[in-house]
């Protein structure tokens, strides 16, 4: 086979190579070492230690669906564990229609829920719609957005919400998104009132989120599965993201090899043409 043909390999060949290569780390984990990025370290520091006092109330927003569980959920799991262990209370809400599924998964992945009391230590407010308007409204009057929790309990009957009215009663926001809700919380909460805000996003959003972390809008950022794996290392409880890192290593390496092969073919074709 001439090198020129390397530029035109059938796509199905790549699909099979990737499929088979991804099997290897699942059958035989490699375990490459994972170093911590500064943005992830800042996120972890912001939800642990002196940065969180007992009794603080945080909002956790699920802006991602089932399809992004692999990227966002490990980091959300670690942050929830960290906040619970610091004695913080959490209002869980969601701007993605998969919110209930994600809430159920969080119950499975965070064993600390077993020691917490619903309505006292955490509450599941449920799904909210309305784009940036509802985020703004949440800042000015939480009860108007959630007159009752997801299970139909009236707002006034939930003990931990008795003294919660607006942004001034909220100590921090964790927004995990595949879309724009991190930006909406930045505009309507962090920018307007200085609320502590962190973003847990998919890898694709890293290029948008990292400048905001550098500018101080987000106190920390977790980027994709890698961010989740770093957080799992920091809390000392390895999970789904750490397992996925081997697959990410294999797939990224194969991608680079494919790009090199494609370019060898192009260069050879060009040289052949010139000759």
């Amino acid at each position: 086979m001439s090198l020129g043909k390397l530029a035109d390999i059938d796509r199905r060949v790549f699909y099979w190579i990737l499929f088979i290569a991804l099997m290897v780390p699942f059958l035989n984990p490699i375990g490459f070492p994972i170093t911590i990025s500064p943005n992830t370290q800042d996120l972890y520091d912001g939800v642990t230690g002196d940065e969180v006092d007992e009794g603080e109330v945080w909002i956790l927003n699920f802006g991602y669906g089932v399809s992004a569980w692999s990227e966002c959920h490990p980091a959300v799991t670690v942050c929830t564990k960290a906040l619970f262990r610091e004695g913080a209370k959490i209002i869980i809400t969601g701007t993605h229609y998969d919110v209930e599924l994600t809430y159920n998964k969080l119950q499975d992945t965070v064993p600390d829920f077993a020691e917490k009391v619903y309505g006292v230590d955490y509450v599941f407010a449920g799904y909210m719609t309305g784009g940036e308007s509802v985020v703004a409204q949440l800042a000015s009057d939480i009860k108007s957005v959630f007159p009752q929790d997801h299970f139909g309990t009236p707002y006034d009957d939930i003990p931990m919400l008795q003294d919660i009215e607006d942004y001034s009663d909220i100590d921090g926001v964790l927004s995990s998104d595949t879309g724009d809700f991190g930006t909406h919380f930045m505009t309507q909460w962090q920018g307007a009132y200085g609320t502590k805000l962190a973003e847990i996003g998919i890898a694709m959003n890293g290029s948008t989120d990292l400048p905001r972390w550098q500018a101080g809008n987000f106190f920390g950022v977790s980027v994709g599965s890698r961010g989740g794996a770093e957080l799992e290392q920091l809390i000392g409880e390895l999970g789904e993201a750490t397992t996925a890192m081997d697959s990410i290593s294999v797939s990224h390496l194969l991608l680079i090899i494919a790009i090199i092969i494609g370019n060898i073919g192009v260069i050879t074709e060009k040289l052949g043409g010139k000759n």
């Binding site: 399809s67 108007s144 299970f151 550098q214 797939s251």
Partner: protein, 216 residues
Amino acid sequence: MSNVFKQEVVYAVTGIVTVLMLLEYFFFENTQLWAETIRTWAVIIFNISLFLGAIRLTMSHSLRIQKQGRDWQFSGVLMAIFVVMLLTGIIGYVSTGVQTSNGIYNWLFNYVYTPLGATLYPITGFYIFSAAYRAFRARNIDATLMLIAGCLVMLKNAPVGEAIWIGFKDLGNWVQFTGQVPGMRTLAIVGALGLIAFGFRALLGKERGFYAGGGE
């Protein structure tokens, strides 16, 4: 008369609401009741639009099934699932107040929707793999620079990069934080300035693209 309602009233309402919300955001430290009311209206209108979307979806696919147009069978599957989810959700809500209390609704969500959703996104990895091979070609200096930067960031994100050579992390970080962040900041600022200009044009009634009919 109808033209007045279609255009002039819409301009006036848009302008008034814009001014009120700008005033509240920039000049009042605490939120104002009238602004909260407007925001609540916005949320209600947004929810109504979801309802209208569901009606439009039903109409569109019903029509396709009726006419047996192209791929009408898919519309049939969509409508069947739509009706099943709607009915089981309503039954669950009426009986216990929580729509997910219905067994069929829960089963479809947990054992059909969840695996399909979880599979859909990773499948794109296969397409990206094939597309990168075909599209990432060093045909000129710009494409070469982008290709090298992309590879460095990939090697920085994947732990294997550091295992091959520890310097990939620093190079990837340099590309991401020193190379890319200024570009994203520029985009963000330019986009924000464009949005302000768009807002002023809308306020003055010059930006008519989002009104009925569109165009200036």
